[in-house]
Subunit: 347 residues, 2 copies
DNA sequence: TCGTTTTAGTAAATCGTTTTACTTGATATA
DNA sequence: TATATCAAGTAAAACGATTTACTAAAACGA
């Protein structure tokens, strides 16, 4: 591949001049500039990335660490981060931690295990000298990724950072739980059951808070028996449905679509139907929610927006790095209810 | 970050020795080796990636170009490629072409458009000096990615390469069509309809071939009216179903699960049920197929295996690069029928 | 005309490794 | 004893860019 030296020789100037024309601030006569640019264009010269990265101590690479690429939430977030970075002339490098057990359909919850994969991943990225690191979580655990004195800009996406030194971009779970509950109330429901996620999960906790708030605002007495904790999986929706039916609820708010599918299973088996015998709402707006019959009303997680916003914040903080801004924040992106056919008005 | 020179000073040896211990072939006494290794371990020294890449002309990076990261087929393939590469001590860098229109649910079919995105992507990877490039297609078009005299090892995955100079890893579509047809025949069906993909698509064509072959082998006269071409989308499954029902088929083989879902839509609307009134089979084993009621019998595409196999071939070819092997080949990975509840025995 | 400033451009150092060719002292060989 | 071999290690060049400090020539001001 053609080198800067060769271009310089062709143009009869020194490499310094080439470099200056391409990205320097020094004065160069318009004549030589044009001459050089023409040769560059013709030869398709591109600076050697490694030489460049070595000389400047900046690489224009943003590292992305993902808890698991296979999880449905990851690709759309990552896709947007990559797209935005590309537009802003940054490259990205992706490290996949593979923390999701595809067969068990569950995350490795062990903090030790997580750290034992995360730390090498971070080291890897540091050794590549990335300009910044974006950690893309897969589920709502509070993440302790980076030490407070971490030397490169870093942030946490789709989950909360333990340290307040790092910005995190999350969905507004409390509002999500609130909105969905309000929506069900507005359709006439007052006995609203919840099939929640795992109890120690941040998504679960905040959505429950929102649920409580909505109930409270409408003067509905909060009944603990109306909340059943599941494990995000279809089967636990099935279980929860049976229990909540006994409580006499008229609507069930599931904290993900998979558990809503489990509820559908139960109804199907017992000759009942969502949107007729009982109202069902989900969360996520996964692919499957359009395919359930009747189609599932659910609260859509705006993965694309999360991705874009994250990249935006990262690159902005890279730009203003001179003034070392301590402006870490928690950015909350709202979800949006997608109305389909699984919720009916209670007469 | 700590440099080789510093390690050398700490150990009272030259950098050459450090380098030699870490990856050279020259003799070093066991004593110094241990001493150095200990210091390396303690300091957490990692060679600067850019300096290394510049000096060796090898980067140990494999470039992955994906037609679209958002498509369901891409993540599992890419995940396996990355995992295998990591195990073999290669890094990967991912370039996403974003060729799938999320809103229209369709690929940019325009060859010009494809090339206008592909060529910069390739240039980008070459400028990074990747050791090899893996092109991960998203749908079954014959790809003309690389010129015959392309200087780095390259291959095409999940679609066919136009040039026979490049290895491609694909699913065995003909066998897939054959197997599924045979399966339906074995369950007693003889009037088997097909809802195919787009007519010019390689997946479509080869699966149709397999279908024909199976019919032929069982002495069933091939009836062109039993094949309806769709566009891979749900709606076209719906259409096709209505038409095939008029033909009096007893089973429908859909070339993807999305169209099978469309068939389910039709049946649902007309008060019929898959697996009872008619047998339905899909292709892909997408997430949704487990959620359809009754669960869909389908032909699973082994994305993980495709990914692993691809990475394996790439890295092998990188290893034996000395003997410039002209062993380009087409590797066909078989699919596997997942029996669920949508196919019944015809009495 | 003489000194000063500006313009256009360059030589050389530098970044952190790897690798080649060389050195030194010890040991084996004839 | 003289020579060849060997083990252990090093100096220095190389990779390809960027950047600093410098220079030669031209332009300017008084």
């Amino acid at each position: 591949m053609i080198t800067q030296k060769e271009i310089a020789d062709m143009c009869g100037v020194s490499t310094s001049t080439i470099s200056n024309i391409l990205n320097g601030k020094l004065k160069v006569s318009e004549a030589t500039r044009q001459r050089v640019l023409e040769v560059v264009r013709k030869t398709g010269y591109q600076p050697n990335y490694f030489a460049q990265g070595m000389r400047k101590q900046k690489t224009n690479i943003i590292g992305i660490i993902t808890e698991d690429l296979i999880q449905f939430s990851s690709p759309p977030i990552i896709e947007r981060i990559m797209a935005y970075c590309e537009d802003m002339n940054y490259r990205t490098i992706l490290v996949n931690m593979r923390m999701y057990d595809k067969w068990l359909n569950t995350w490795y919850e062990d903090e030790k295990k997580l750290q034992s994969v995360l730390q090498p991943a971070i080291q890897e990225l540091l050794s590549i000298k990335v300009d910044g690191i974006i950690y893309v979580a897969g589920h709502g655990r509070i993440i302790n990724c980076f030490p407070d004195d971490f030397k490169v800009p870093a942030m946490v996406v789709y989950s909360y950072s333990k340290s307040s030194k790092f910005t995190s971009v999350v969905i507004d779970d409390e509002k999500g739980g609130y909105d969905m509950t309000r929506y069900l109330i507005s359709r006439g429901h007052r006995k609203i059951g919840v099939i929640a996620g795992t109890a120690d999960n941040m998504h679960t906790q905040k959505r429950c808070l929102g649920y409580q708030k909505a109930l409270y605002e409408d003067g509905i007495l909060y009944n603990p028996d109306w909340i059943r904790y599941g494990d995000w999986q279809r089967e636990s929706g099935y279980q929860g449905c049976g229990q909540l039916l006994n409580e006499g609820v008229t609507a069930i708010f599931c904290m993900n679509d998979d558990m809503a599918a489990g509820v559908y299973d139960y109804l199907y088996e017992h000759g009942m139907k969502a949107g007729e015998d009982i109202s069902i709402a989900g969360y996520d707006n996964m692919e499957i929610s359009k395919y359930l019959k009747p189609a599932l009303t659910t609260n859509e997680i705006p993965f694309s927006e999360i991705g874009t916003k994250s990249a935006e914040i990262m690159i902005r903080s890279l730009m203003e790095e001179s003034e070392d801004n301590e402006s870490a924040e928690v950015v909350r992106i709202p979800c949006q209810i997608i109305e389909r056919d699984s919720v009916r008005d209670l007469k």
